[in-house]
C-alpha cells in the first residue's frame, strides 16, 4: 500500500548487534565450508555456535522483553522475510541449496573420501563428534548439530514470544528436550556403549523413520544383542501400541507438537513462516491426495523391503515371506473392516476413497508376492523401491521442500503434504480420539486470525464461525489458533468422543426455539 515502511518494524541497535553476531557465527562456518583450515577447530566451532546462539537470544530478548505480554504479530505481513518478500526468497534459496548439498553432494561439505580425514565444514565439527562418540563427524552429525542448535535457539525465542501462554512454553520445552536428548545425544552415547547399534532416534517412529526396518538396521539391532532387540521391540511397540493409545487420549499433538523433530523445527525456526500455508480448499484437496499417496507408498515400500530379506523356508526363521505378507494383509484388513464398521457412516464418500486405497495396497502386495523373485519385486530390483522412497520422500520432500521452502510454503509443508506418520496419526485423530478444538458458542467474529496463523492450512474460521468444533486429521494441536484468537473462541481439549463433531446451522445466543428447529433436524 504505502511506500513508507511502517516504522515500528525497524529494529533496534541491540538487535542489529545481535544479528551481526549471528552472521559472524555463520560466516565462520562458511569459511570452513570454503576450506579455510582453522587451527583450533574446537575453539572456532564453539565460537561460531556460541555467536549464533547468543545472537538469537539477544535478538529475541530485545524483540519481546521490552513489550507487555501478549500476541506479537505486529508487522508480520510487512516484513520481507515473513511475507514471501525478497528476503523470504533469498533465505529459501539458501536453505534449499544447503539441503541439496547435504543430501547429494556431501563431499562439498568436506566429507572424507574413503580412508581419508574430513576437511571443510565437516572437519570443523570433528572435535565435538570426537568428544561425544569418539568418531569423526559425518555430514549427518553436522546436520544434527545445527538442527539441534536451531531448535534450542529459536525455541528460546518462541518461548519469549509466547511468555503469557503456558501451553506454548511447555510444549516448546518438550520439543527442545526431545531434540537434544533423543535425537542428538542419546544415539551418540548408544554408539559409545555399543557400536554395533544402528543410529536410532527412539522418538522417531515408523513410518517417519522409514529406515528402521531396513536390512542393515534390523541386522544391526539383532547383532547388538539384548539391548538391540529391546530397541527393535520398542520400535514396533511404538507403532502398534504406544502411538494409538496416546493419540486416542491426546490427539496427534502429543507427537507432532510435543515430541517430533520435524515438528520441533517447524514450531521454532519455522514459526515466523506459519502464516504462509495455503488455506484454499484446493490446497486441502491436494493435501489429502498427496499425504495418503505417500502413506500407501511407504506401507508398500516397507513391506517390500522387509519381504526382500526374509527367507522362504521355516527352517531359517519363523517369519517367512508368506507369513509376513499374510500378517500385513491380515492387519490391514482388520483395520479396514473395523473402520468401516464403526465409522463408515461418518466417513460418507471418504469411505469410498479409503476402500479404493485399501484394495490398491492389497493388490500391490499380492502382485509382489506372486511375481517376486529373490532379487526382484514388482519386476524391479528390490532395493530400488526403497532408494526411490529415501530419495524422493525422505530427502527431497522432507528436507529440500519441507524445510528449504519454509519461507515460501509455510513451516509445515512436509507435515501437511508428505509425512506418512502424520497421515496415520491424523487418520486416528479424526476417527478415534478424544481431542478436538472446542468452539466457544457464538463468540466468533470471523476475523480470520486463527486461519491465517494455522501452519497446517486449516481454515479454522470456517468451523468457528459456524459454532462447530474443529476435528481435523491434519491438526497438529500447536494451539496457535487458540492463542491468536482475540475473542477467546478456541480451546484445545481432550473430552469424550460423544458430541465431538457438532455441525450447527444456528449459533448459540439466538432464539432457543429456532436453534432447536434448525439444528436438530
Amino acid at each position: 500500500m504505502s511506500l513508507a515502511k511502517p516504522d515500528a518494524l525497524q529494529i533496534t541497535n541491540t538487535q542489529k548487534v545481535a544479528i551481526l553476531a549471528g552472521v559472524v557465527g555463520l560466516f565462520i562456518m562458511t569459511l570452513a565450508l570454503f576450506n579455510i583450515d582453522f587451527p583450533q577447530k574446537g575453539f572456532f566451532l564453539g565460537l561460531s555456535m556460541g555467536l549464533i546462539g547468543i545472537g538469537t537470544i539477544v535478538y529475541s530478548r530485545a524483540a519481546y522483553l521490552n513489550k507487555l505480554e501478549g500476541i506479537k504479530n505486529d508487522g508480520t505481513w510487512f516484513k520481507s522475510i515473513s511475507s514471501r518478500g525478497i528476503w523470504g526468497w533469498i533465505v529459501g534459496l539458501i536453505l534449499t541449496g544447503f539441503y541439496i548439498v547435504l543430501y547429494f553432494f556431501p563431499q562439498y561439505l568436506g566429507l572424507a573420501a574413503d580412508g581419508g580425514s574430513n576437511t571443510g565444514l565437516i572437519s570443523l565439527f570433528d572435535p565435538l563428534s570426537l568428544l561425544l562418540s569418539g568418531r569423526p563427524a559425518s555430514q549427518w552429525f553436522v546436520y544434527g548439530t545445527l538442527y539441534t542448535l536451531a531448535i534450542l535457539a529459536f525455541g528460546y525465542k518462541f518461548m519469549l514470544k509466547y511468555r503469557h501462554n503456558r501451553y506454548q512454553q511447555l510444549r516448546t520445552i518438550s520439543v527442545m528436550f526431545f531434540q537434544l536428548a533423543f535425537a542428538f545425544l542419546i544415539p551418540e552415547f548408544m554408539y559409545v556403549m555399543n557400536n554395533d547399534l544402528p543410529y536410532y532416534d527412539m522418538k522417531s517412529v515408523w513410518p517417519l523413520n522409514y529406515y528402521i526396518f531396513d536390512e542393515w538396521s534390523v541386522k544391526g539391532f539383532i547383532s547388538a544383542g539384548n539391548i538391540g532387540l529391546a530397541l527393535l521391540i520398542f520400535g514396533i511397540l511404538s507403532i502398534f501400541v504406544f502411538t494409538p493409545i496416546l493419540t486416542y487420549k491426546y490427539g496427534k499433538r502429543w507427537y507432532c507438537s510435543w515430541v517430533c523433530g520435524c515438528g520441533g523445527l517447524a514450531e521454532t525456526v519455522g514459526d515466523p513462516f506459519r502464516q504462509l500455508s495455503s488455506k484454499k480448499l484446493s490446497a486441502w484437496r491436494f493435501e489429502r491426495w498427496m499425504i495418503h499417496l505417500v502413506l500407501v507408498f511407504s506401507v508398500v515400500m516397507t513391506t517390500a523391503m522387509v519381504y526382500s530379506y526374509l527367507g522362504y523356508s521355516h527352517n531359517d526363521f519363523w517369519l517367512t515371506r508368506g507369513v509376513f505378507i499374510s500378517l500385513v494383509i491380515g492387519f490391514l484388513t482388520l483395520v479396514f473392516i473395523g473402520v468401516l464398521y464403526f465409522k463408515g457412516r461418518e466417513l460418507g464418500t471418504d469411505a469410498k476413497y479409503g476402500a479404493i486405497g485399501f484394495f490398491v495396497v492389497i493388490a500391490a502386495l499380492l502382485i509382489m508376492h506372486f511375481t517376486g523373485t529373490t532379487d526382484k519385486l514388482f519386476y524391479i530390483k528390490s532395493g530400488t523401491l526403497r532408494s526411490a522412497y529415501g530419495l524422493y520422500i525422505g530427502s527431497i520432500f522432507s528436507g529440500v521442500i519441507g524445510t528449504g521452502f519454509y519461507p515460501i510454503l509455510g513451516s509445515r509443508a512436509w507435515c501437511r503434504f508428505g509425512c506418512p506418520m502424520a497421515a496415520i496419526l491424523g487418520f486416528q485423530q479424526r476417527l478415534f480420539s478424544k481431542f478436538r478444538i472446542t468452539t466457544n458458542g457464538g463468540q466468533c467474529i470471523s476475523c480470520g486470525n486463527c486461519s491465517t496463523y494455522c501452519e497446517m492450512g486449516i481454515d479454522v474460521r470456517a468451523y468457528a464461525q459456524k459454532g462447530e468444533n474443529i476435528v481435523r486429521s491434519s491438526c497438529v494441536g500447536c494451539g496457535i489458533c487458540s492463542a491468536v484468537c482475540p475473542r477467546g473462541v478456541l480451546k484445545l481439549e481432550n473430552d469424550t468422543m460423544k458430541g465431538r463433531i457438532n455441525p450447527n446451522e444456528i449459533l448459540l445466543g439466538n432464539d432457543v426455539d429456532l436453534m432447536k428447529l434448525v439444528n436438530d433436524k
Binding site: 500500500m1 504505502s2 513508507a4 503456558r166 466457544n440 480470520g448 491468536v484 446451522e505 432457543v512
Partner: protein, 434 residues
C-alpha cells in the same frame, strides 16, 4: 422465481443470503458498494497492524458466491422506490426486486465539530477509512501524533493500531473512566491503567472543541474543550459511536427513526421490505437490549431469523441471552448476561468483583439482591464458556451455585493458572462480612 435483493454485504446480509440459499431456490442478489466480496469488519485493525492481509479477512473464498448462486453487485444504491419495487443505483442502473432487505450497517458519528471534514480526520468503520489511515498515518514520521476522539470499542482498537506503528496517541474520552457507561468501575479502572501502560496519553473527562487546519486544509491540531489546550497532531480519529447508514432512504416511503424502524419480525412499514443488522431499529427495545444493536452477533442472528421468514416459516427476532466480547490491547473481555456500569445499573442488581494482583485479570458477577439469582458476568483476562453461562442463565442459577461451579466454565488454554479458588475465597469472605 422470487427475486430477493439485499443491500449490504456485511455479516447480516451475507448470513441472510446463505441461509436463504440453504432453504430455497430464490434468486438472490446482494448489492453493496464498499467491497466486492464480504469481509470481516471486525478484522480491519489487524490489516493495519500487519497481522493479516485484506484477503485473510474474507471468510469465504471468491468462488463461494457463484457456486451458491448468490449474485454480487458492487454498486451504491442511491434511491429506493417501493411502489414500483425499484432500486436506483448511483451508476444510473435500475434493479427490480420482489423482496428487499436493508442491511446497510452503520457509519461513524460526527457531532458537528469545527474541522471534522478536514483531510486527516477520519472514522474507523469502512475499508476506505483504513486506506485513508494508511495515507495519513503510514508511520511516525508522517504522523507525529494522532488524537482519538471517543472512548468506545473502536476508539481503543484505533489506539492499539496506531501504537503498533509507534505513533504517539492522545486518547480523548468524554467519560470520567474508560467505557464506564457499560463497565463497572473496577473493570473500567483496570482498563484505564492498561491503556496507560501502553504509553497512550489517555485524557479522561475530556471533550474535543475544534480541529484546526494548516494551509493545505489538513489537520494541524485539536483544541480541548475543558482547558483550551491545543494539541498538535496529524491525524484525528473520530470514534464516538456509530449511527445507522440510511441517508439514501430519506426520499423513500420507508419509516425511519435513527435507523430503519422494524417490528419484531424485522418488517418495515412497507410490505416486502425488511431491515437487519446495525441499521435496523426496533420500535421497542427487547429486554435490556438497545433498540439499535450495533454488534456483529446480533446482525448474524437477525440474518438467521429473517431467512426463515422469507422462506415461508415466519418467525420473530427473539434473541437468547446477551453475550459479547472485545479485546482491550492485551486484555480479552467476554460478557454473558447483563452486568451494568454504575450509570445504568438497576436497583435490584448487586455485584461481586474480583481483581488479580497483577491488574490484568478481573471478573464481575451480577446477581439479584433479593433472590441471589445470577444475572450476568464480565470476565477480563480469563476466557469462559459461552455454553455454560447460557445454560446457567436459562436454569436461573443463583450466585452461590455459579461461584461453586465456576471452574466448569473456564475456557482458558490448557496449563493456564486457575483462579477459581482465589475467587471463591474472596466470595466467602465477603459473605461473612455482610
Amino acid at each position: 422465481m422470487q427475486h430477493i435483493v439485499i443491500i449490504g454485504n456485511g455479516i447480516s446480509g451475507v448470513t441472510l443470503a446463505r441461509h436463504i440459499r440453504k432453504l430455497s431456490d430464490y434468486k438472490i442478489t446482494i448489492i453493496s458498494s464498499e467491497t466486492e466480496y464480504f469481509f470481516s469488519r471486525t478484522a480491519l485493525m489487524y490489516i493495519y497492524m500487519g497481522h493479516m492481509k485484506f484477503e485473510h479477512t474474507q471468510p469465504y473464498e471468491n468462488w463461494f458466491w457463484k457456486k451458491n448462486r448468490i449474485d454480487l453487485k458492487q454498486a451504491y444504491v442511491s434511491e429506493v422506490e417501493t411502489e414500483s419495487k425499484t432500486l436506483h443505483l448511483a451508476n444510473g442502473e435500475k434493479v427490480n426486486y420482489d423482496k428487499l432487505v436493508i442491511a446497510t450497517g452503520s457509519k461513524p458519528n460526527k457531532f458537528g465539530w469545527p474541522g471534522q471534514d478536514l483531510k486527516g480526520v477520519m472514522g474507523m468503520y469502512h475499508k476506505q477509512d483504513l486506506e485513508n489511515l494508511e495515507v495519513y498515518a503510514p508511520n511516525n514520521k508522517v504522523c507525529k501524533r494522532a488524537v482519538i476522539v471517543g472512548g468506545g470499542l473502536i476508539g481503543i482498537e484505533l489506539a492499539e493500531m496506531l501504537s503498533s506503528r509507534s505513533i504517539p496517541v492522545t486518547f480523548l474520552v468524554r467519560e470520567s473512566s474508560f467505557w464506564n457507561g457499560v463497565l463497572p468501575e473496577g473493570e473500567s479502572g483496570m482498563i484505564n491503567r492498561h491503556i496507560l501502560s501502553h504509553h497512550i496519553d489517555l485524557r479522561l473527562s475530556t471533550n474535543l472543541k475544534a480541529i484546526n487546519a494548516n494551509e493545505a486544509e489538513q489537520v494541524k491540531s485539536v483544541v480541548i474543550e475543558e482547558t483550551g489546550e491545543e494539541i498538535p497532531c496529524d491525524v484525528v480519529g473520530l470514534t464516538a459511536g456509530v449511527t445507522p447508514n440510511i441517508d439514501f432512504l430519506k426520499s423513500s416511503k420507508i419509516d425511519l427513526g435513527r435507523g430503519v424502524l422494524v417490528n419484531r419480525h424485522l418488517e418495515t412499514n412497507i410490505e416486502g421490505v425488511y431491515a437487519i443488522g446495525d441499521c435496523a431499529e426496533q420500535h421497542e427495545a427487547i429486554g435490556n437490549r438497545r433498540p439499535i444493536e450495533a454488534v456483529w452477533y446480533t446482525g448474524r442472528m437477525m440474518g438467521e431469523t429473517l431467512a426463515q421468514t422469507l422462506c415461508g416459516n415466519k418467525r420473530a427476532y427473539n434473541p437468547g441471552h446477551w453475550f459479547n466480547s472485545a479485546k482491550f490491547f492485551d486484555i480479552e473481555y467476554q460478557t454473558y448476561g447483563w452486568v451494568h456500569g454504575a450509570k445504568g445499573k438497576p436497583d435490584y442488581e448487586k455485584q461481586f468483583h474480583w481483581i488479580h494482583e497483577d491488574d490484568d485479570k478481573c471478573i464481575t458477577i451480577a446477581y439479584h439482591k433479593d433472590t441471589d439469582q445470577f444475572l450476568g458476568i464480565n470476565t477480563f483476562g480469563i476466557r469462559m464458556r459461552h455454553e455454560t453461562f447460557d445454560r446457567w442463565l436459562t436454569e436461573k442459577r443463583d450466585i452461590h451455585y455459579v461461584m461453586e461451579h465456576l471452574a466448569e466454565a473456564n475456557f482458558d488454554p490448557e496449563f493456564y493458572a486457575a483462579y477459581e479458588s482465589q475467587i471463591f475465597e474472596l466470595f466467602k469472605n465477603r459473605l461473612q462480612l455482610v
